[in-house]
Assembly symmetry: C2
Homo-oligomer: 164 residues x 2
């Protein structure tokens, strides 16, 4: 498994916030009910997003969370970094270098890892895929799915659950 539910729930949370057109804060309780996720667990997850300045919060009644930045500018690699810590292909990749880029620890014990070469490629593939996906894109996707689904459940003749 590459990611844990932290990433899953955290991204969903952000998408949910992104769907909100106005800038009124959304309570975690609403999101938890909407997505069917445990509230107490979401609280800990949203804390990670806040620490990374991806969401803002207002406390007290009628409070909640809203996106701190334009969804277009939020790329998934920052999001996943905030949620999962870092994307390390292998346990020997200790997270040293500032922003998620990690390097192998046993560089030269005996023979230099041929595996390191491989894992670096994999890591590149993952971070590239994450970086080229923005929150806005996911929000748009989710909105499209909504349309498709309501059409399908209503029995109309509109495009089905395909992407286009």
């Amino acid at each position: 498994m590459i990611f844990t539910t932290k990433a899953e729930y955290g991204v969903r949370l952000l998408v949910e916030l992104g769907r909100q057109a106005n800038d009124a804060p959304v309570s975690l309780k609403a999101i938890a009910e909407n997505e069917g996720l445990p509230l107490a667990y979401l609280e800990r997850i949203v804390a990670l997003l806040k620490r990374a300045d991806l969401v803002e919060s207002t406390r007290g009644a009628h409070g909640g969370y809203r996106l701190a930045r334009d969804p277009e500018s939020v790329t998934m690699d920052e999001v996943v970094l905030a949620l999962e810590g870092s994307v390390a292909p292998m346990s020997c990749f200790v997270d040293e270098t500032d922003d998620g880029r990690v390097l192998c620890s046993h560089v030269d014990d005996g023979e230099a890892c041929a595996t390191k070469f491989l894992w670096l490629r994999v890591q590149g593939g993952v971070t590239e895929a994450l970086r080229r996906t923005t929150l806005a894109e996911l929000v748009a996707f989710s909105a499209k799915q909504d349309v498709a689904q309501s059409a399908e459940t209503l029995g109309s003749a509109l495009p089905l659950h395909s992407a286009a």
Copy 2:
């Protein structure tokens, strides 16, 4: 963490076998000592590789393992699939479809996952990186490292404890 030590050790094992020029089988004990890995654990790992027809074994004294195929033709996505089961970005990706391609389980409970869209991209990035890396490439890389290292530690230009 994307991969466990199964992938790490398994790939190393294959590289070690690939370094062997002749077709004489190599014992796990030799590999374990060479790489500093626990023998009993390697036994379980190599069983996965054998089940996937990536290595052949001969039992008894002077027995051991050898590659079952040309290293050029062995891509890392088969290897990792054999070792790790499947590369699933998220726990909701249950491995159904034959060869490692996995799909999301909660396709349409409430709203169709925008996250699924993301994880599929990530999975694509990983498998693509794995598929374009062959065992032969890793073996060559490891050999190159040997030369560089022996030159550096000995100051001479002779091969060190390499296969030949």
